[in-house]
């Protein structure tokens, strides 16, 4: 016994590990055909019950013994999916503490403390400025790190609350008794009973079944109920009927099964672990930010190092040079960048949550903005996920019914007698009923018991006719034959509501061709007419047309039974069919469809203008898919597929040049046969693509195909097995209502209303945040130059230091965070959704931005600040010419009678105080110019007047906060030791204003030139979008990426294929 068990265990383990290995391997070669993917290596379905008993050491009647079960439980672990590995909180926290710039800042902290240590060991009275600097920077790091961590934790918590699971129970036979136990305690070999309504607690091999039907949609995506029996019908365990899988739902019937896999070893578990195996790729915005950090860090270290070398070679004391190095680094690093970015993203995430996009991963928002392809589900996302009457055909005419979400009135012509008759049949020949107790609920929102089409028809007639239940009461139902797949019709016999008329009324509905067969007459304008050739022709045309639109068509016909033959007492027998079911009178057709959401066509148009390709991926029939695609605009009105062209030109499909067709409808079977190159070609050549009859596995293939073309792909999904695709996609979007937990876990974003239009809103927000982030970086970078220049000038020209490291740090704190965040509230410049998606090479921080910020605006800003700095000194007695080379004397503690240009003599402290006044003045000057910069940065192309100077109310806060902080620092708080701010004369506050205006005028002129010459003349390109040619470029841009300009729209996908075509 034990041996068997052991071998079983080994076998099982081997099986599962092999299964996983296989799937991994498949993932690796996932450009190849996918159909074999994720096929678990199971053979239990082929075994007889006796073999199973042997294999699993169990007894079908008695079940496992409790002790044995406990042993197995201890060995295999509980029957739950192992949640993806969580990073410990402390690691997350530390990550925030050393991420990005913070490493550089830590270096600054440590260096400055080491410097103090050395100084102290030489001279215990050494100035403590370095300690203060280190402490201040350290404080900033801890604050920003904590802040970022807090924000991240907050957004994670929102999600965590989403995925709370309700514990499940399972009915199991153990020790010969039926017990209810939590399903996580199930072990392999347990005998489990399931019944309609249960969720399957583990992978089961069925031993007996009574009309058991399961919904495997979470596994296969097919929502059709599938019946399950205990016979092995297929070699493939996924296809055979005697295995049911974990997480599937049992819809009806009951069954007994033996547990063959639990927890992560179940098929679903394997898919889930597969999903966590698909690496989380870095989001574009993370890449962008990393890129920015590299640039800035590179510049900081390079410049710092160059000047360190110069300093050493100029025989400056080594320690001074190191201090200098630290100062340069400190000036260059935007200390609060991390906090700013996190804050901006959080704010946008909140805004998006209001618009029904719940963002799990903050950085995913930026990805949304660069999305170039959206692979969308059909049902529920593009459509309303409810059947609705779309068209009616009677009196040889097609009528259109209103399918919008809020339809209350039907506007088609209801005067015809045919309609009266048809309406009656619709109301009567219907098995659906409203659930009681919903009087106050609007008709369309009422819950209905019964099959989907009946429910639709019930609501439809309730809207038109009023109280259907009342009508049914008046026309008492005598007998009924429900719809079944062999008959393909539904029939019921009623008494009539006319008291004088004691005939019975037979009403019938069903598949149109079957209904027509049973009819001998047709009703036109309320009159019965013999069904002749021409009316049959008309019927067929209408049927084809409605069917061609992907709608589900139903035919209706009534028959009054003659009272003589069928008196009131006649007993109808539905098995014997003792009543006529032919020579009925055909009344009309009615077609049902799951109508598109009314907001979707607009959203698709928006996507199109935004250069985003929308691909529909659905499990539905191609015709339906195409019809919906047409109605929402995924396939636009004037484009046609190869089939359409063939039909129009009346030639064979093979003769049509595939590339001439704009649109394509690809089915799952076609996709299976395709090589990845063929798929690429389809994806690249057709702008409008519908994938129909897709299995969710194939979604992954499509996503990968798109990614091979360099596109940023957003994918929607709801099922468990969508999770690999969601994970693989650049941005996975799970459905909030219909979505499974696994899908939500794998996704980056959750759509709370399942609406496609919300994605487009998300894209818009994503683009906006990218733009605004760009603006705030440009805003931040500018100031860095103005903070760097003082150190260089101080060092090269030997002037008293214009701004101290701590003041520079405070500069970062006061002018960075709030104004940058204010920029994130900036409204879109008009054209945001008319642009092509951001290309991956269109960087957040591109050369143009860096060069414009640091070589144009930055120097101008420094210029203004220096002018004020020099004024402070000149007005106190030190003229600019005197300042040059003054540093050594100036900083000599033993010189207490330094002479100025008026012959006055200054003590060291007096000079120091003047220096601090200089810091303050420099600080204020930059602050004032940064205000102008902030206003400038509101737009990138438009004039500030076009944008509206202060339409963004938050910008007021952004403008006021630096002023407020500067005032506080200058008038009080700043006199604290180490901060070194002084009171500043009033006129120094206003002196930078002309320079600020100069900046703004320069920027307006630049924007004007850009607008006047959108393509750009050479001069504009060089100066305003500079491709800067000198070595600075090597410093400014990371190595190896392409050296080209960032303007212009490059649709690489298209271009490369055009070229390929040419070669071919």
């Amino acid at each position: 016994m034990k041996d068997i068990q052991n071998s079983r265990k080994e076998d099982g383990r081997e099986t599962s590990s092999r299964g996983r290995k296989d799937t991994c391997w498949n993932r690796k070669k996932n450009h190849q055909k996918q159909e074999t993917e994720e096929e678990p290596d199971l053979d239990d379905h082929k075994l007889s019950s006796e073999d199973l008993e042997k294999k699993y050491g169990t007894n079908i009647m008695m079940g496992l013994s409790s002790t044995r079960a406990a042993e197995l439980l201890a060995h295999d672990g509980p029957n739950t999916l192992r949640p993806p590995k969580e990073t410990p909180e402390i690691v997350k926290f530390l990550k925030q503490m050393v991420g990005g710039f913070l490493v550089l800042l830590w270096i600054i902290v440590i260096t400055s403390w080491i410097i103090y240590g050395i100084e102290y060991s030489v001279d215990p009275s050494a100035s403590q400025d370095d300690v203060y600097l280190g402490a201040a920077v350290g404080l900033v790091i801890i604050l920003t790190g904590t802040f970022a961590y807090y924000q991240e934790a907050k957004s994670t918590n929102i999600i965590a609350s989403f995925s709370k699971m309700i514990p499940q129970q399972a009915l199991v036979i153990r020790d010969g008794e039926k017990k209810t136990i939590p399903s996580e305690q199930l072990v392999v070999g347990d005998i489990v009973e399931i019944k309609g309504g249960d969720q399957i607690p583990a992978d089961l091999r069925l031993l007996s079944s009574q009309g058991c039907k399961v919904d495997n949609s979470s596994l296969t995506g097919e929502s059709e109920p599938q019946s399950r029996s205990c016979d092995c019908t297929h070699d493939n365990p996924l296809e055979t009927t005697n295995i049911v899988f974990y997480s599937a739902a049992c819809l009806e019937g009951s069954a007994t099964g033996m547990v063959i896999n639990t927890g992560d070893r179940t098929v679903i578990g394997q898919i889930a672990s597969l999903a966590s195996g698909v690496g989380n790729e870095k989001t574009p915005i993370a890449i962008e930010i990393e890129h920015f950090v590299h640039i800035v860090a590179g510049v900081a270290v390079t410049i710092g190092f160059i000047f360190f070398i110069i300093a050493v070679s100029m025989k400056h004391p080594l320690l001074d040079s190191v201090i200098f190095f630290v100062g340069i680094m400190e000036a260059n690093v935007p200390d609060c960048f991390q906090a700013t970015v996190t804050m901006m993203l959080t704010l946008t995430a909140k805004r998006m949550a209001k618009k029904n996009c719940l963002v799990k991963n903050l950085e995913a928002m930026g990805t949304l903005g660069s999305t170039s392809i959206i692979c969308s589900d059909k049902t529920g996302t593009l459509t309303q996920n409810r059947m609705s009457v779309a068209h009616l055909w009677f009196d040889n005419q097609i009528f259109v019914a209103d399918t919008s979400e809020a339809h209350t009135k039907q506007t088609f012509d209801q005067s015809s007698g045919t309609w009266t008759s048809l309406a009656k049949i619709i109301a009567l020949c219907n098995g659906a009923e409203f659930k009681p107790g919903q009087q106050s609920v609007p008709i369309l929102k009422k819950t209905v018991m019964g099959d989907a089409s009946d429910a639709t028809l019930l609501k439809f007639s309730e809207v038109i006719l009023g109280d259907v239940m009342e009508i049914r009461k008046r026309n008492r139902k005598v007998v009924e034959i429900p719809f079944n797949s062999t008959n393909k019709f539904q029939l019921s016999i009623h008494e009539t509501d006319d008291p004088d008329d004691n005939r019975f009324l037979v009403v019938m509905k069903g598949a149109p061709e079957r209904i027509l067969e049973k009819c001998s007459t047709i009703m036109i304008n309320g009159q019965e007419q013999p069904l002749d050739e021409s009316s049959a022709e008309a019927f067929h045309t209408a049927y084809m047309e409605l069917g061609g639109r992907g709608e589900r068509v139903l035919g209706f016909c009534p028959l009054y039974l003659p009272a003589e033959e069928f008196p009131e007492t006649y007993s109808f027998d539905i098995d014997a069919m003792n009543f006529p079911t032919s020579s009925l009178c055909f009344v009309g057709l009615l077609s049902l469809i799951d109508p598109p959401r009314s907001t979707v066509p607009d959203a698709i148009t928006k996507c199109r203008s935004a250069g985003i390709k929308v691909i529909m991926v659905t499990g539905d029939h191609p015709i339906t898919a195409k019809a919906i695609a047409r109605s929402v605009g995924i396939i636009s009105a004037n484009s046609e597929t190869a089939d359409d062209t063939a039909k129009r030109l009346n030639i064979a499909v093979e003769q049509v040049n595939q590339r001439d067709a704009n649109a394509a409808v690809v089915t799952g079977t076609e996709l299976k046969r395709m090589s990845s190159e063929q798929l690429d070609e389809i994806l690249a050549n057709h702008s409008e693509i519908v994938f129909a009859r897709m299995s969710p596995q194939q979604k992954l293939t499509i996503v990968e195909g798109c990614q091979r073309l360099g596109a940023v792909v957003a994918v929607t999904g709801d099922g468990v097995n969508d999770s690999p695709a969601l994970k693989k996609a650049d941005i996975g979007i799970a459905m909030g209502i219909a979505g499974s937990d696994a899908a939500k876990n794998a996704a980056d974003m959750v759509l709370l209303d399942d609406n496609f239009a919300s994605i487009v809103t998300g894209v818009e927000e994503g683009r906006l945040i990218f733009d605004n982030l760009k603006k705030s970086i440009a805003y931040t970078l500018t100031k860095n130059v103005a903070l760097l220049c003082p150190f260089l000038v101080y060092f090269i020209l030997g002037v008293p230091l214009p701004i101290g490291p701590i003041s520079a740090l405070l500069m970062d704190l006061s002018t960075d965070i709030i104004p940058s965040i204010a920029l994130s509230y900036e409204k879109a410049e008009s054209d945001i959704m008319d642009r092509k998606p951001r290309h991956k090479e269109d960087r957040l921080v591109d050369k143009a931005l860096v060069i414009y910020s640091s070589l144009h605006i930055g120097p101008m800003q420094s210029l203004g600040a220096f002018a004020i700095y020099l004024t402070v000194y000149a007005q106190a007695g030190f003229k600019p010419s005197t300042l040059i080379g003054l540093r050594e004397e100036w900083e000599d503690d033993d010189v207490n009678n330094l002479e100025d240009d008026y012959g006055q003599e200054w003590t060291r402290y007096q000079r120091q105080y003047l220096e601090w006044t200089g810091y303050t003045a420099y600080f204020v000057a930059i602050m004032v110019q940064q205000l102008a910069n902030l206003i400038m940065r509101k737009t990138r192309r438009n004039s500030i007047f076009q944008q509206g100077l202060f339409r963004n109310k938050v910008i007021w806060v952004g403008l006021a906060s630096p002023i407020g902080i500067a005032l506080i620092l200058s008038c009080g708080l700043g006199s604290l030791p180490a901060l070194n701010f002084t009171m500043l004369r009033v006129h120094f506050w206003f002196m930078a204003v002309p320079f600020a205006i100069l900046l703004w005028v320069y920027e307006e002129v630049r924007k004007l030139l850009i607008r006047l010459y959108p393509g750009g003349t050479y001069i504009i390109k060089t100066i305003l979008f500079p491709k800067f040619p000198t070595c600075t470029l090597i410093m400014f841009s990371s190595f190896g990426h392409k050296l080209e300009d960032s303007s212009g729209n490059r649709d690489i996908i298209k271009n490369s294929y055009k070229k390929r075509k040419k070669i071919v």
Partner: protein
């Protein structure tokens, strides 16, 4: 960057496939490059590019082409094993710095490079012009005779001579080497106070009152004499060692010059020294020269370096005649008088000075 992304994804793609994809791309790129070249050649065929516009187009095209070239480099880089990436990058940079085929450096031809340099030069030149103009107007607006703001330099600081590092007067009477530099420092400092020089250059003005000189700001001002001989025993005239050889050192104290500074009328600024911490009697007696131990009012106000050329700062000499020997004596000398502040915590040289005497015998 796209390349890099792809390479990050690379593990999911088997190698064979990767190669194929890249090859195709490369073909495309080459094709594109050819296209560009053709266009360029056509442009050349068109004739001599004498119009600036044409030049510009040419340049833009060249740049585009450059980008393709670089792309190609990268494609190749991808195709090879990852170990070579750094070498590839180096090559790329090298190519970038100087591309012999295209005769370009830094992705630019000499022509476009010089144009850009000129434009930037103009830009920065105008910036320089702006700041020059600013400074010029600033200096025009500032009076050269009277500082605009002098609150930072008031109240006056103090300086003492001879110069001693960290203000520690540390010497051994019997070893002239330890105090000789003080004597030299004092002698040097007092050269400007020589009686002959003072008599020649400056006027003898009445004591006890301001030496006010009306007239325009830019008129040269006369200065009052401060003769070396005023310092008596500390003048170095009778005792050329200023008392250092006898262990009775002289220390001179000078108040910092401040334009327009005037002590209270009738209440000249006085100097008073005492032991800062420790026994009051460590000093015992100090002789001040001039005997009033004050700065006479006639030396004020100061009219500034430009007009008050020969201004001689008044001095007060402290003669420590009986200081305790062989022990460090901290001495604090303070200015006393109205409009004098001598207790600023942070500034140990405003209105006061602290130094240490450590005379060994």
């Amino acid at each position: 960057m796209r390349r890099q992304l792809r390479s990050r994804r690379a593990p999911t793609l088997p190698h064979g496939y990767h190669y194929r994809l890249d090859d195709q791309d490369e073909v495309n790129q080459n094709y594109l490059a050819d296209e560009e070249e053709e266009a360029e050649e056509e442009a050349r065929m068109m004739g001599v590019p004498n119009l600036e516009k044409e030049e510009e187009e040419d340049l833009v095209e060249e740049e585009k082409e450059e980008k393709e070239v670089v792309q190609n480099e990268e494609e190749e880089g991808q195709g090879q094993p990852m170990g070579n990436t750094w070498w590839q990058k180096l090559q790329l940079i090298n190519e970038y710095l100087w591309d012999p085929e295209q005769r370009r450096s830094l992705a630019l031809t000499g022509q476009s490079c010089s144009l850009i340099l000129i434009l930037y030069f103009l830009f920065y030149a105008s910036l320089a012009a702006v700041i020059t103009i600013c400074m010029y107007t600033l200096l025009l607006a500032i009076s050269p005779y009277m500082p605009t703001f002098s609150e930072r330099v008031k109240p006056p600081g103090i300086m003492i001579r001879p110069f001693a590092h960290s203000l520690n007067f540390n010497f051994n009477v019997s070893e002239p080497d330890t105090w000789q530099h003080y004597v030299i420092s004092l002698n040097g400092f007092l050269q400007g106070y020589n009686d002959s020089l003072q008599e020649e250059m400056n006027v003898d003005c009445p004591p006890g009152q301001y030496f006010l000189q009306d007239g325009d700001e830019d008129e040269d001002k006369k200065a009052c004499q401060f003769k070396r001989s005023f310092l008596k025993n500390c003048s170095g005239l009778e005792d050329p060692t200023f008392g250092y050889s006898t262990g009775r050192p002289c220390i001179l104290l000078k108040m910092n010059r401040i334009v327009g500074f005037r002590p209270e009328l009738g209440d000249p600024v006085k100097v008073s020294c005492k032991v800062q911490t420790g026994d009051e009697n460590d000093i015992r007696s100090i002789n001040y020269y001039p005997e009033s131990a004050s700065f006479d009012l006639r030396y004020y106000p100061y009219y500034g370096k430009l007009t008050h050329v020969n201004y001689t700062s008044p001095l007060v000499a402290m003669h420590f005649t009986d200081v305790v020997k062989n022990q460090a004596v901290p001495v604090q000398c303070q200015l006393k008088g109205k409009s004098i502040i001598n207790d600023v915590i942070n500034d140990r040289f405003v209105g006061r000075v602290i130094f240490t005497l450590n005379i060994e015998t």
